[in-house]
């Protein structure tokens, strides 16, 4: 059961509440629904446990490895010399330290932005070509997602450790925090509405408090992830862009600096969380 905080009601409200006959029925509110809720959550836990045994993301990871090693693009070279932050060609542990500042590009990039950059600068793809299939659709798997899945898996077991050394990295963390708390749209949403408190869920899905280290670690450890509801892998960009769609906001560009700022904020909060990548979830 989640812990609940009781606020301090106004004294006047207390007096008035005492006079409400409805108080007599208080007892009926506790008990059975809570038990039913626990049972539902146990079964959801069982569902997730049974899924964990075979993660189709591994199929996409295999494809990603091949794409990384295969010469492609107008220059017909592989991505094996792409620098993901730890030096050219060093992939192991790179995802755990992204997003980060890249001096050659002069900006903070996440894994996707960096892969797009390498596809442009090393393989000779145009920006439009490198980004046109940035997410997977039914019947059409994205090459970029496959690459991210493989790169992510090369940090499996590593601690999230995003650098905040460069001033632009520190600034992106703060801008991410600003965006996290920004509310707008026809439902008054902001990231914080669903992800700013402990121990709550939407429908049957637990919502992590992403403004705190523990919640951010729990959330960020398991991406990229195979989403059974989508039948494919989602990256963090895809996850966040869909959160924005669910918030009824307009659509982001890809790659999106606002999303990268959010990732920077969240990865920073999640520092020390051990990656279990790729994950599998609803």
């Amino acid at each position: 059961m989640r812990k609940q905080r009781r606020g301090t009601p106004h004294a006047a409200a207390k007096r008035m509440a005492g006079s409400l006959a409805a108080l007599a029925a208080l007892a009926t509110l506790t008990g059975t629904p809570a038990l039913a809720q626990d049972k539902s959550m146990d079964e959801i836990a069982k569902y997730r446990e049974m899924l964990a045994d075979g993660n189709p993301a591994e199929l996409i990871e295999m494809r990603g490895e091949e794409l990384w090693k295969t010469p492609r693009g107008p220059k017909n070279v592989s991505l094996e010399q792409c620098d993901l932050g730890l030096g050219p060609g060093k992939v192991e542990g790179a995802y755990a330290q992204l997003p980060r500042y890249f001096a050659d590009a002069g900006k903070v990039m996440d894994v996707e932005a960096r892969l797009v950059y390498c596809m442009q600068t090393q393989q000779g793809f145009s920006f439009a070509e490198a980004t046109k299939n940035w997410y997977s659709k039914p019947g059409k798997e994205s090459d970029l997602v496959a690459l991210v899945t493989w790169v992510g898996a090369q940090s499996n077991g590593q601690k999230i450790n995003v650098p905040v050394k460069h001033p632009k990295e520190a600034e992106m963390v703060k801008m991410g925090e600003y965006i996290f708390h920004r509310r707008s749209g026809p439902q008054d949403f902001g990231c914080s509405v669903c992800h700013g408190q402990d121990g709550v869920r939407i429908r049957l899905q637990d919502l992590d408090n992403l403004s705190q280290s523990k919640g951010a670690q729990k959330a960020m450890r398991t991406w990229p992830a195979y989403r059974v509801s989508q039948g494919t892998v989602w990256t963090m960009q895809r996850r966040l862009i869909d959160c924005m769609r669910q918030a009824r906001w307009p659509e982001q560009k890809f790659p999106s600096d606002a999303v990268i700022a959010l990732e920077m904020y969240l990865q920073n909060k999640a520092a020390g969380g051990v990656l279990e990548s790729p994950g599998i979830k609803r």
Partner: protein, 160 residues
């Protein structure tokens, strides 16, 4: 023979003429010709109702509910596109295992032939269009036995 060779050889054989898939396996020396006689049970997979499906599987009438058939699945699936199911039969000589979802457009999701030496425990994942009873059907010594479980399919996430 490497897998690429097998795939290449199969492609080549396909060009040469329409041998069935199992025929190709037989030609590749993987299975004996007798085993290659089995074919996809169109009638069972395309049957609409549970009763018609059972009939097409040769299990007409009411199969006996048995405690020796165990259907392990969660009570609630967070998403109907992927519902994990494990069927275990503790009956002797279990030859055939099938998974049926009553409220799907076609009830039969999958069936398996269990050769001697293979345990009658199969795990796979099925789609469910809505909350439904799910059945595990087992053929043991020529007779059919069944186990049933309701699995709730819930709306997840933001619900949009």
């Amino acid at each position: 023979m490497s897998m690429n060779e097998i795939n290449a050889r199969r492609d080549a054989m396909k060009k040469m003429g329409g041998m069935g898939f199992l025929g190709l396996l037989a030609a590749a020396g993987m299975i004996t010709p007798q085993m290659a006689l089995a074919a996809w049970n169109k009638g069972a997979f395309e049957a609409k109702t549970l009763a018609d499906t059972l009939k097409a599987l040769g299990a007409a009438g009411t199969p006996v509910e048995s405690k020796d058939v165990v259907l392990n699945a969660p009570d609630i699936a967070e998403n109907g596109a992927v519902v994990p199911v494990t069927v275990t039969s503790n009956l002797p000589h279990s030859q055939q295992v099938a998974i049926l979802v009553e409220k799907n457009p076609n009830a039969l999701a999958a069936q398996f032939m269990i050769p001697e030496g293979t345990e009658a425990t199969i795990t796979t994942r099925v789609k469910m269009g809505q909350t439904s009873d799910v059945f595990a059907l087992v053929k043991s010594d020529g007779k059919f036995y069944i186990a049933k479980k309701e699995i709730k399919v819930t709306l997840g996430g933001c619900g949009g």
